[in-house]
Symmetry: C2
Subunit: 196 residues, 2 copies
């Protein structure tokens, strides 16, 4: 229950008759979490979602061992949501869904996160975005390098879907794991991966 | 304010006349956080402390944009506290202080964390513990490999300080960064690091 019902909802953007509130924005995350569990259970990769940063303001101690947080706030993450290790290499990515059908709004990625992506690439890490166009029923892996290239050379506030069609890699739905992004990493970054 | 005053205190272990409650267990963490900031600002390494996992139970929405957490609990982390990237390699570690002077109690490291350390080593990641013996005024870097070796071949509930003296590496106090563990990584894991 890291994102309680209602948090991060862009209510104005939702067709209430078609999409359930409580699932909005959760589906991709859920699928990635299950895929990461599959990777871990099979010793393929160890990649975790970072806990949501929360600013604790007030804590109660009803007993010596128990602490109950009485007041706290969600904070904006300054890095990406997921990181971990695959074949000795550092893996780092952010996952986002959009209801837009023609472009991915850059407002989805905070300024600090863009800097983080830049830093990880400079350190020779494997860094990317997983972006799902929900209504087009398509999920892309966009290399951090291509994302940064777009940000640095455009004044647009969104990345057109054609940019994804041209530069990104489609992550096809599979059964197990559901979001097999490691397969794409093997294809795209194969040369950079160390043999175990 | 991720660890509010009083949380994770092992009260029975503290000489109240000598050590301030609010700093107990925080000093090493604070020094590592500042050192990581130094590494980031100088493009040396990008290593972050993971947010404390918190289970959110109840949230209030006084307005559409604001969410106030009214009830939540601290959760035990299943992985280590710090991870990130240095010269393309995945770095992962846990930092602990102890007031003991003769041994490091294994109760400090949860079972899931031991499994995590094992997994990271198997994936060819760089994984270690930073352990400070507060009253001896000494801080060690213990390789994950040596830690796992101890756990697998001993029934003791603590690691004697002599094991550290024999196997671990002393992290000397420096001015900037205060806890220069990257220097030890260069010495210990030099061969495993990729040139940038």
């Amino acid at each position: 229950m890291k994102y309680p019902k209602g948090v991060n909802l862009n209510i104005s953007n939702i067709k209430t008759d078609k999409i359930s509130y409580s699932n909005r924005g959760m589906e991709l995350e859920k699928e990635i979490n299950i895929s990461n569990e599959y990777y871990r259970n099979n010793n393929i990769a160890f990649i975790y979602k970072k806990p949501t940063p929360i600013k604790v303001v007030d804590v109660d101690y009803p007993s010596r061992k128990e602490a109950i947080i009485k007041k706290a706030y969600f904070e904006k993450p300054s890095t990406t949501d997921y990181n971990g290790i695959y074949k000795g290499k550092y893996i780092d990515f952010e996952a986002k869904e959009t209801l837009n059908t023609t472009s991915f709004p850059l407002a989805n990625i905070h300024k600090h996160q863009i800097e983080h992506i830049r830093n990880i690439i400079n350190q020779a890490g494997i860094c990317f975005l997983i972006v799902r166009f929900v209504r087009c029923n398509i999920t892309y892996l966009l290399k951090g390098e291509d994302f940064i290239d777009f940000v640095d050379h455009n004044k647009r506030k969104s990345i057109p879907i054609n940019f994804f069609k041209e530069k990104a890699y489609v992550i096809k739905d599979e059964y197990l794991p559901r979001i097999n992004y490691i397969k794409i990493i093997d294809e795209v970054y194969g040369g950079a991966l160390n043999a175990k």
